[in-house]
Symmetry: C2
Subunit: 341 residues, 2 copies
């Protein structure tokens, strides 16, 4: 294996991998609502039951992760035990969906928490593990579930609480990705790990506004580190800013001299039909960017319809305790450069 | 930088770094109870107020992390902005102590959750980042707080609930570590990342029993991967098994042909005085192994009193939701090989 040419230009935070890391397989598993959305036909599995046949939402979310990883490994015909390290996370307290979802696999495990940006965090660390020569195969798996997330952050579903139009709908789904030094059809060419960005926003029903400044920060630093602009990417795709956050992001970047309006997509906007699905500002959750990456973004890169994409899962860093104690909601966004190969 | 000679002997999970990674600086900050314990004189800072002058336990824990990182950087005379990546975590839901503790530092950030094993997880990923050539300097910071942890997992302190003798006492403290390719006095020579081990134990007042099988698994795999036994380490030091878990670990390893009794220490046992401090089975928390590593283990390695230590922070993977839904409490333990240099 060659030395790593680490890009530390300008002293900022991006890495450019000398040998880009391959995404050799992926899988997406979603619930029925996601299956009814515009991307329905592209998911690997749509469960007819958001409960996945389990007795509670948390176990249902664990089942999503377990199956996503199995399907991804199955597609690559790779026995699970060949995976050297598993990077995973979810939104729940103590990332319990992930712990219980992956204990059967018995893989060396790194638990991650980056709120809805966790898919980007897992891909970044997994790519570093492969590019550093530490793993033949690494896996990244993340999930979210509407029922478990509402219970965790807002109210149990049975309360039937109303939601403002700025609120997003947590995606029920899990995406899994297998990374390797060779093979595959899409490469991770580089990463721009995120910083915690706190603009003092305190509205937990408007996560898009909380996360847009972090997405802006990561995208700007990616442009600076790689000496690029929007024109160097076929698409710049954020995780779950939704309609509200998208508008803020485009405005923030316009103020800094970059026009993203022609090239920006948001996984949270893509996954639901705004008119018919009553999801207000869009989708969100660690599962949102993960399943859209697997079902929509990677296939377009594989076919060469897109040559280079900046994938930027976004996360809002809060707990119900920090929120109730009056803390603001900082954001974080992890940028991953994906290229057709 | 040389290529990494990655040790994948036996297809298991350890790594041996071709160029061991240096711990160039560390810091430990604790609350008053820890300051009154047997290691009191060795901590860098003892706050006279467990509340750290903040208005709630969560903000107090964030303050511990913030100060620990600043002190560690100050000792190394390294401006914070030179740290390329920060790896951090804590026990709270959505690791909020870490998010709010580190937002001011404005460093590229990877949020981790490995329960009380998070110090080992952060050191492992930080060492991989440095050994892979991805960071000149990486930092690992973890914390726990008795008040925030009791509120998170059991009852608010004001309830004055009683605790069984098998319960541990969550350490109020934070440890921070700076990693680099060169310099320093103690090296990370290798790692054995942990697997999730679930023996079906469901007693959240007996974490030692939940975690001991995971510690056993990691230590055994370390022995196998490196072809070593207890005699190859001056000490094998677990995170927070406490008295109950220590006994189980020694028994489990004895059944597999290894006698750890002469060489085993546990950070949770070292940090409090069993007779006078009313801490029952010992100390616990992400802060426990971190502050003991900084205050006790690293100095002995630096002076050469110990030449090689296997440091094994242990974690119990549960949330109050998973516990109340009747799930078992799996454990995880991340092994880090520390050597005098």
């Amino acid at each position: 294996m060659e030395n790593m040419a680490v890009d530390q230009r300008k002293g900022l935070q991006s890495l450019e991998f000398a040998d880009p890391v391959s995404i050799i397989s992926s899988a997406s598993i979603v619930g029925p609502k996601e299956g009814e959305g515009p991307l329905g036909e592209y998911f690997d599995l749509i469960s007819p039951d958001a409960g996945m046949g389990e007795e509670n939402w948390e176990k249902a979310e664990s089942a999503l992760q377990r199956e996503a990883l199995q399907v991804a490994a199955g597609k690559a015909r790779l026995p699970l035990k060949r995976i050297r390290y598993l990077f995973g996370g979810d939104l729940l307290a103590q990332i319990c969906a992930t712990s219980f979802g992956n204990e059967e696999s018995s893989l060396p495990f790194f638990g991650l928490y980056g709120a809805c940006s966790t898919c980007g965090e897992a891909l970044t660390l997994g790519a570093m593990a492969v590019a550093g020569g530490f793993a033949d195969y690494a896996a990244a798996v993340t999930s979210s579930h509407f029922g478990s997330a509402e219970k965790e952050f807002r109210f149990p579903l049975a309360y039937g609480n109303q939601r403002p139009l700025s609120a997003t709908w947590t995606v029920t789904g899990s995406g899994a990705f297998l990374l390797a030094a060779q093979g595959g059809y899409v490469k991770i060419a580089g990463v721009t790990p995120g910083k915690i960005v706190d603009m003092g926003i305190k509205d937990n029903m408007n996560m898009g506004a909380c996360m847009a400044p972090a997405a802006c920060d990561t995208i700007l630093r990616n442009f600076l580190d790689f000496n690029r602009g929007p024109e160097d990417y076929d698409r710049i795709i954020t995780g779950d800013l939704g309609y509200v956050g998208q508008e803020i992001l485009i405005q923030l970047l316009r103020e800094r001299g970059f026009d993203l309006s022609e090239r920006h997509l948001d996984c949270g906007i893509e996954i639901y039909d705004r008119e018919s699905q009553d999801t207000h500002a869009g989708g969100s959750g660690c599962g949102c960017s993960a399943v859209v990456l697997s079902a929509m973004i990677l296939p377009k890169l594989r076919k060469g319809i897109w040559k280079r994409v900046l994938f930027v899962p976004t996360g809002a860093l809060l707990s119900k305790v920090s929120f109730n104690e009056g803390q603001a909601i900082p954001g974080i966004a992890h940028g991953v450069i994906l290229e057709h190969s």
